[in-house]
């Protein structure tokens, strides 16, 4: 069947017709043969019974008069009928009265035996038995088969010729349609002329095919229109976008220009500041130097009345110098020119140096400077100048905003977040700050309020610079304060700056030294009695 499926429709149709033809022919042949056999048998029986009837009629007299010779003679007349093999007449008590046997009768393919009664005066007086050979049937069947074979062969040939010719009625339109379809799909030509055909199923198929082609043409047209529209829209949008791009480019050019100008201005400012630092310090150094010199001269000459004024000049000059230094530092930081120069140094001498330099400031406001060093501090790899400056700023602020109190500096090495840190904590019992004040604390030129500038002095840049410095070294500064109780500033620096991690992780943490905060509370609650270092 698989092979049949791949046959062309022409072969299929031919085959189909051939198969049908052969099937009907076979059926006809078989039925005809069966009918023939049956008819032959019936005819033979009829002929036999006719023969028997004649024999019976002709032998009645011989029987009733017991003339066996006459009966045998009657039977011998059967020689004229070649199919009869033997015949016999039996009396009613079963005795053989007369018989006949064909001389040339051989054993053949079966025989049929027929018995017939002999009647006389309404009574059965004997039985005739006739035996006929069926050889004639076999002979007849053989000749029939030969004839039928010839007819079948001729029929098959005619059927083949007819089916080859007739299958074109069905296959030709289909093949034509297939050919047209393949042309359509190969050449993408959907506007072929209509194929004419009748109104059968193939006509229906062709009709649908034409409808399909019409739909494809419509769709093509729609697609082409859509495509054209799309192209137009793309063109429109492209020009819009080009316009926008041009505008953006213009804006960008403006911005670039503005940035260039701004950079230029910034550079000019930085250059100006760098140049100015020298110009600003030179006259101040002269003022400070000469006022100190004059102070010494006045002290030597005991010109008491000039000494306070000279001291004021000297103080103001130094303050001015500090301010300028701070401003210049900030300018350097802002200009990105501030560099840290890392070196190995021992922490403790640096702490002692800063403490001793701050001592005078502490004493000025009647404060006690307290030092707590937790364990050996060892060496660190940091920028010593900047560490000093940070500590000085923190301690200076603590002394400035505390009167008759205690300023504590606690230093320790801590291991945290898989790094070693050096932690400086400056705790005072001064005026303290609110949360809002703490937020403003690290902004440039910001003190808690403007009135405090006048009272406490300072540029307001110290804390900011200190935080910048600490962050440049990979550390940070945190603050914790309560108004009226005091403040705690914690400077955390990595022992080995230059490693990548920063101390940002410490931000918003609780104070590192819980005991120092406890001490702070103690100082606040207890009497602010000075204690020895």
């Amino acid at each position: 069947m698989r092979a049949f499926r791949n046959f062309s429709i022409q072969r299929k149709l031919t085959w189909l017709m051939m198969v049908i033809g052969c099937a009907t022919l076979s059926l006809a042949v078989v039925s005809f043969s069966v009918y023939e056999v049956l008819m032959f048998q019936r005819a033979q029986v009829r002929a036999l019974s006719t023969q028997a009837q004649i024999i019976a009629a002709n032998s009645t007299a011989a029987l009733v008069f017991g003339d066996t010779g006459s009966a045998a003679e009657t039977l011998s007349a059967l020689a004229a009928e070649p199919s009869i093999v033997s015949a016999a007449i039996y009396s009613t008590d079963g005795k053989l009265f007369a018989s006949y046997r064909r001389k040339d009768a051989g054993a053949s393919a079966g025989s049929v035996t027929l018995s017939y009664p002999v009647m006389f005066a309404g009574k059965r007086i004997a039985t005739i038995s006739l035996q006929a050979s069926r050889a004639a049937l076999a002979v007849r069947l053989v000749s029939y088969t030969a004839i039928l074979a010839v007819i079948a062969a001729a029929s098959i040939l005619i059927a083949l010729a007819l089916s080859s010719a007739l299958q074109k009625l069905i296959s030709a339109p289909i093949l034509r349609l297939a050919h047209v379809m393949s042309e359509v799909s190969a050449e993408h030509n959907y506007s072929i002329p209509a194929i004419a055909h009748g109104e059968d199923e193939i006509g229906l198929l062709i009709g649908h095919f034409h409808k399909l082609l019409a739909q494809i043409r419509e769709r093509d047209e729609a697609l082409r229109q859509a495509h054209d529209e799309l192209e137009q829209r793309v063109l429109d949008r492209t020009s819009e976008l080009q316009l926008e791009i041009a505008q953006h480019e213009q804006t960008q050019a403006h911005l670039l220009f503005a940035k260039k100008e701004a950079d230029e201005a910034n550079r000019a400012k930085s250059e100006f500041l760098a140049n100015m630092s020298h110009e600003l310090r030179t006259p101040l150094n002269a003022i400070i130097g000469y006022s100190e010199m004059l102070h010494e001269v006045a002290t030597d000459r005991h010109d008491i009345e000039y000494i306070p004024d000279l001291e004021r000049i000297c103080m103001a000059g130094r303050h001015q110098l500090t301010l300028i230094n701070d401003v210049l530092d900030l300018a350097k930081i802002e200009a990105g020119r501030m560099r840290v120069s890392l070196e190995n140094f021992a922490v403790e001498p640096v702490v002692q140096e800063v403490a001793s330099s701050v001592q005078s400031l502490a004493l000025k406001n009647h404060n006690l400077l307290n030092m707590k060093i937790d364990g050996p501090l060892g060496n660190v790899h940091l920028d010593a100048t900047k560490v000093k400056q940070c500590l000085w700023n923190l301690l200076g602020n603590a002394c400035k905003f505390t009167e008759n109190g205690v300023v504590t500096l606690a230093v320790a090495r801590r291991k945290e977040q898989s790094r070693e840190w050096i932690v400086f904590e400056v705790v005072d019992t001064g005026i303290g700050m609110s949360a809002g004040q703490m937020q403003k604390l690290f902004r440039a030129f910001s003190q808690v309020d403007s009135s405090s500038t006048r009272k406490h002095g300072g540029s307001g840049l110290g804390l900011m610079i200190s935080r910048r410095f600490s962050r440049m070294m990979g550390g940070d500064i945190q603050v914790y304060s309560e108004p009226g109780k005091g403040s705690s500033f914690t400077l955390t620096l990595p022992v080995n700056a230059g490693a990548e991690e920063s101390a940002q992780g410490f931000e918003n943490n609780q104070p590192v030294f819980q005991e120092s905060m406890a001490a702070l509370s103690d100082h606040v609650s207890k009497s602010p009695l000075p204690q020895a270092i």
């Binding site: 011989a62 009733v64 008069f65 017991g66 066996t68 006459s70 009396s91 006389f120 005066a121 009574k123």
Partner: protein
């Protein structure tokens, strides 16, 4: 049933009688000879056609007559008892002399009447009577059927001309069985 069986027995005897293949001269002398001849009389009647005017009425009987010394005795009645001829009853009449002969269809003439044969012929006249006899040369004398003993069977000769004169039609089957058939007028 007995009657039917009787005829069948006779017919069967007919066959077995000859099958016994008795000597020719001895056969007619056997006890069953007249039994067989009685059956033959009936059988002859069945192969002969009588003209329609031979019977006075549609239900008139078929009459078999025996003239002269009766050789059958009761055998004839025994064999033919209850038999019918073409639907007609069979009646047996016996006549001692030819003058006594009345209307019959079949007449057996005893050998005793050989000398009075012309009288018998005169008595039957032109009536359709089938004449049968054991007389030698019966057919030559103008009789119709003459029993003749053959070597192993009972045969008979026929005179078809005499039968035709009496307007009797004899079946060819019967003629075929006859040992000799004479067609010439005597």
């Amino acid at each position: 049933m007995f009657k039917v069986g009787r005829l069948a027995a006779v017919l069967s005897l007919t066959l077995s009688f000859f099958a016994a293949a008795l000597p020719a001269d001895r056969a007619p002398r056997t006890a069953g000879e007249y039994e067989l001849k009685a059956a033959f009389l009936y059988n002859f009647a069945n192969f002969v056609t009588w003209p329609s005017d031979a019977f006075a009425r549609p239900d008139a009987p078929f009459v078999i007559g025996v003239v002269g010394a009766d050789p059958f005795g009761p055998t004839l009645e025994q064999v033919l008892n209850g038999q019918r001829w073409n639907g007609r009853p069979i009646v047996i009449e016996r006549f001692s002399r030819p003058q006594d002969i009345r209307a019959v269809h079949l007449l057996y003439i005893s050998e005793s009447e050989k000398r009075r044969w012309p009288e018998v012929q005169a008595a039957t006249g032109p009536a359709s009577v089938l004449t049968v006899s054991d007389m030698r040369d019966f057919c030559a004398l103008g009789g119709m059927i003459e029993f003749i003993p053959e070597h192993n069977r009972l045969g008979f000769n026929m005179n078809i001309a005499a039968a035709s004169r009496a307007r009797l039609t004899v079946s060819s089957k019967l003629l075929k069985l006859a040992t000799a058939v004479s067609r010439a007028e005597p």
